[in-house]
């Protein structure tokens, strides 16, 4: 009978499958217990985000160099899922250090740090380590404002070249900036970029648009396009997709990128990119655990430590002499003769800034609690590693605001 045949075939197929399962179950050998140090990384997105890719590349480089194993969890939202991911990395993968890369991971990571006091927890961009009182929880960031400033110098030189070539007048030297959210990390970034450009091109102004997302290719592209339509002749961004760079390449507008080189996709518009190289920090935190030493509560990477870097300059697009000028300015930043947030170089509401209370300690009401200006200089990343510069200086126009 036909039906019987069908059923027989199905049963045989099932039996075959079951035996495959059984064979696999029987043939397993238990994985050897990891005795060496292991690092667990928690990433907000995956390598499609330039932000996370920057961390992922550094994780791989640092762990290979230090000869330690690592495990990772990608696409971990800023919720209890971060806590669960940490638990998984510790209990299943046996990690001794946990690192998370997104701002909103922090509170959940602190909860995990309280539960596993023998594991070290490190967190990028966070603000709570210096007040949380959890010994095995640490924040880290880098003085990326210095890198942004240098990238801004490259942008300013390009503007000068355009002015000299008669393509634009000095008054038309307007840059556009695509930011994610209207808060200190982004504001500190675009302000230092602007001040870098202004350092070499005094007439520069800048328009800023916010997307309200760290990663939204469409929105970032649209924001860049609308800035270009609004008369911006050079674009930079602090958001993590390829949206703004590709919009620039299409429109033929020079772009100063972030998080890494986009020259492959944008050979005709990419000038230079600043980024934080996390490898030095990862090596530092691994070394600390190996040596049984305490990790700094707030660690700020610098140009000296190799944490703040610029990618190769795209000579095809950059103005002549950009590399030499950047080296010159970098030397001044290093010897302290030049400060990014020197209050003599900018005004707020037409007035010079002599004092500014920054919101350094995290609390529910966002109280401004710490004086950040000393001797005419706003000291960024001094009182904690994450940026806290959030003034709106003259010359920069915020076309919109987006707080999330």
């Amino acid at each position: 009978m036909k039906n019987l045949k069908k059923i027989l075939a199905l049963v045989l197929a099932l039996v075959a499958v079951m035996t495959t399962f059984a064979a696999c179950g029987g043939g397993e050998t238990p994985a050897p217990e990891a005795s060496d140090l292991k690092v667990g990384f928690i990433f907000l997105h995956d390598e499609q985000s330039t932000y996370d890719k920057n961390f992922m590349d550094a994780a791989k480089a640092a762990c290979e160099e230090m000869g330690v194993e690592y495990a990772q969890k990608t696409q971990i939202p800023e919720s209890k899922d971060c806590y669960d991911a940490a638990v998984e990395l510790i209990e299943v993968d046996g990690c001794d250090i946990i690192f998370a890369d997104s701002f909103g991971h922090e509170s959940f990571l602190i909860d995990a740090a309280k539960k596993y006091p023998e594991v070290q927890f490190c967190h990028a961009t966070g603000t709570q380590a210096h007040t949380a009182g959890v010994a095995n929880f640490h924040n880290a960031f880098a003085s990326i404002y210095q890198g942004r400033f240098l990238a801004g110098v490259a942008a300013g030189l390009k503007l000068n070249e355009m002015i000299e070539a008669g393509k634009i007048t000095a008054d038309q030297a307007k840059m556009g900036y695509v930011g994610a959210f209207t808060f200190a990390e982004v504001m500190s970034g675009y302000t230092s970029f602007y001040l870098g450009a202004k350092y070499v091109c005094p007439s520069v102004t800048m328009d800023v648009k916010f997307t309200g997302s760290w990663y939204d290719e469409k929105l970032e592209k649209e924001a860049a396009q609308s800035l270009i339509a609004g008369g911006c002749v050079l674009i930079s961004q602090h958001a993590d997709s390829m949206g703004a760079p590709t919009a620039c390449e299409t429109a033929g507008v020079p772009n100063v990128s972030y998080n890494g080189s986009t020259v492959a996709a944008c050979p005709n518009t990419f000038i230079v990119s600043s980024r934080i190289d996390w490898t030095p920090y990862f090596k530092y935190m691994i070394q600390c655990v190996m040596d049984g030493k305490a990790i700094d509560t707030d660690w700020t990477g610098t140009i000296e430590s190799g944490s703040v870097v610029l990618t190769d300059i795209n000579e095809k697009v950059a103005a002549a002499g950009t590399a030499a000028k950047i080296e010159e300015v970098k030397a001044k930043l290093l010897d302290g003769s030049l400060n990014v947030f020197d209050t003599a170089t900018f005004t707020v509401g037409g007035k010079a800034v002599t004092s500014y209370l920054a919101d350094v300690d995290t609390d529910a009401d966002f109280t401004k609690d710490t004086e950040a200006v000393e001797g005419g200089i706003f000291y960024e990343s001094k009182h904690r590693s994450a940026p806290y510069f959030d003034m709106e200086i003259d010359g920069i126009t915020l076309l919109d605001r987006n707080y999330g």
Partner: protein
């Protein structure tokens, strides 16, 4: 039923609905589809990660159950928690679907439920006593979700608007309201730090126990409601034919609005479980698309709560397990989404072949599913 004609313009093949498949055979096909999809998952993972079939499943099990055999149950609870949320949303959608009201707004209804929870936690957390606070959270969350469900239901009942579009649009409104709320409470950093008040109690060092037990209870109640209650029967009648329902004296408008209140209210519960029982915070990604996956879960579960338990358990197993495979092999996370997508496609596909058969022109043989 489509009847064969002798017309020469008969297409190469046509699809015929069949009602005659015995339940046993249908289930055999379903189980075969599940086994087949698991086999395929293993093979695909093998091909991409270059690990053996056994290793692949070992990694998947570790991603779902962790080191369960060493007595560490944390991961198991996480697995049950993920099932609970997806199941709760699927259960919430079921009465609406049985009524043929296509509620695509579970995401938004859960979001406003979660919003009500976090609002109460922040506003009344320090002023109300714990039991009172919890009652307020439960009531407001259910109400918020219910209101979000009632709005499209009223428009449907009174003006016969398209509920699919309406409920979908309500999702975006909910998302934007939460984005604005996060801005107010988060002060520009886009993050609301976890609130210490109004959290569900941990039972035996376990954060998710209350959530899981709650959803287990809802599962049984929903089964009983749909199967044994008069209201459940009314839902079925309205779903079959609104004219029949009217003829036998059922107030169709009332049933539509009441059912959507239940559907939305239960989504609100899911939102509450996520906020008060898990994150203690909120962001626009709170539900993470589960409101849409739940639509499939309800369908795959044939609107039967207990089958939904099995279906959600399978889907969450794959989601967590394949994510672990991807992470272990340092693969892109999309890998797990693709795999889960393929599996759901297979499961939905097998339903098609259970309910329909393909008949070819002239030739008298029937194509087997």
């Amino acid at each position: 039923m489509a009847k064969k004609t002798d017309s020469k313009k008969e297409p190469l093949f046509h699809v015929v609905k069949r009602d005659d498949m015995p339940a046993g055979k249908a289930w055999l096909i379903r189980i075969a589809a599940i086994v087949f999809s698991f086999l395929l998952v293993g093979l695909l993972s093998m091909a991409i990660t270059e690990k053996s079939f056994g290793e692949t499943y070992e990694i998947m099990f570790s991603g779902v159950f962790g080191r369960l055999f060493e007595g560490k149950t944390t991961m198991l609870w996480k697995y049950l928690q993920e099932i609970a949320i997806l199941l709760c949303l699927a259960l919430a959608l079921t009465p609406a679907f049985k009524m043929k009201f296509w509620n695509c707004g579970a995401e938004g209804q859960a979001l406003v439920g979660g919003l009500a929870s976090i609002f109460c936690m922040i506003q009344f957390g320090s002023s109300l006593s714990y039991p009172v606070l919890m009652v307020v959270i439960v009531v407001t969350s259910i109400l918020a979700g219910a209101i979000w469900g009632i709005i499209p239901a009223v428009f449907k009942a009174l003006f016969n608007t398209n509920e699919t579009l309406f409920t979908l649009m309500m999702n975006y409104i909910a998302t934007q309201i939460i984005a604005y709320y996060v801005y107010i409470e988060g002060g520009g950093s886009n993050v609301i730090n976890p609130v210490a008040y109004g959290n569900f109690p941990t039972v035996g060092n376990n954060d998710y126990f209350v959530n899981i037990v709650t959803v287990a209870g809802i599962t049984v109640l929903m089964y009983a409601y749909l199967r044994f209650s008069k209201q459940g029967y009314e839902i079925s009648v309205v779903g079959e034919s609104q004219n029949t329902a009217r003829y036998v004296g059922i107030n169709v408008k009332k049933v539509i609005i009441r059912t959507m209140a239940i559907s939305g209210g239960l989504c609100g519960v899911a939102g509450m479980l996520l906020v008060a029982g898990k994150d203690h915070s909120i962001n626009t990604n709170l539900v993470g698309g589960d409101g849409f996956t739940a639509i499939l879960m309800s369908w795959l579960g044939q609107f039967n709560p207990f089958i939904m338990v099995v279906m959600t358990a399978i889907v969450i197993f794959l989601r967590l397990g394949v994510a672990k495979v991807a992470d272990t092999a340092l693969l892109n996370h999309s890998f797990s989404e693709i795999i889960v997508g393929i599996v759901i496609l297979i499961l939905v596909g097998c339903e098609f072949f259970i309910h329909y058969s393909i008949k070819f022109r002239q030739s008298k043989k029937e194509v087997k599913a």
